[in-house]
Amino acid sequence: MNHGQQSGEAKQEDDAALTEFLASLMDYTPTIPDDLVEHYLAKSGFQCPDVRLIRLVAVATQKFVADVASDALHHCKARPAPVVKDKKQQKDKRLILTMEDLSKALCEYGVNVKHPEYFADSPSTGIDPATREE
């Protein structure tokens, strides 16, 4: 009996938290415009005139993209640093979002965007001519 009462109270608190969050969304402007989210929701068949729900979806999408980008960043930082030949390359350390890091990050979310493997005509295809002579 007590367990049922406690779960009921918890549910009421969660409902209140959700209601409060939806109300606060009117003061928070997500990165993704409301028009864009409304367009794609309508395209999927979900009709909703409530702006709060549209913003909820916008914030959820923004968080998802932020998590994916953050994971890709971790993969980029975790990669071993290449051999530096000159000092200019050493100073120019930029974090670049590449498909390699992005595909690794998306793998954790169940999304497969890996490019198909490249099959070369001969073993020397794609090798720099300078290194090939060596």
Binding site: L18, D35, H39, L41, S44, V59, L102
Partner: protein, 156 residues
């Protein structure tokens, strides 16, 4: 789940309802604006540069995510027998997409995904879309066809 890069989705996005050659050039401009906005967003997570295919992929996946939420929420609304979805449908859709199996077990408390979203909205920097999205009325142009409204007021 295999997702293809949905660049076509962004090209087909037509908030000003441009069609034909003029529409395609307008869509390219919009895609450029959205890319610039995503670049601002990427800088907030310490990414300073990007490869074009990676950014396009990320944009496409964001679009697919919105589409998936809408489709799943509509499914739950249909099961409940209502035409217009409510907040619980979206919460269930988010919970279903957030779990690895994609199956919603039970709704006994506020989903962890929603709690994470609430926490994220409190911590993340607010970054609204800064670029103008004019409609035909503001630009002073006429829509190419009669069925295309001039302004948002005409849609209602």
């Amino acid at each position: 789940m295999v997702l293809h890069v949905m660049l076509g989705e962004l090209v087909s996005l037509n908030m000003s309802n441009g069609v034909g050659e003029g529409g395609r050039s307008q869509s390219r401009e919009k895609r450029k604006l959205f890319s610039m906005q995503w670049l601002r967003f990427a800088k907030s997570v310490e990414v300073t540069m990007y490869k074009e295919p990676a950014l396009d992929t990320l944009i496409g996946i964001a679009v697919q995510y919105i589409y998936s939420i809408g489709k799943t929420a509509q499914l739950y609304a249909s099961i409940a027998g209502i035409a217009e979805g409510i907040s619980l449908d979206i919460v269930q859709a988010l919970e279903g997409l957030g779990s690895g199996s994609g199956i919603l077990v039970t709704y006994c408390c506020l989903a962890d995904v929603v709690k994470d979203i609430i926490r994220y909205s409190g911590e993340a920097e607010e970054m609204p879309f800064v670029y103008a999205r004019p409609c035909f009325y503001e630009v002073g142009a006429e829509p190419p066809d009669e069925h295309i409204p001039v302004s948002r007021n005409q849609i209602v």
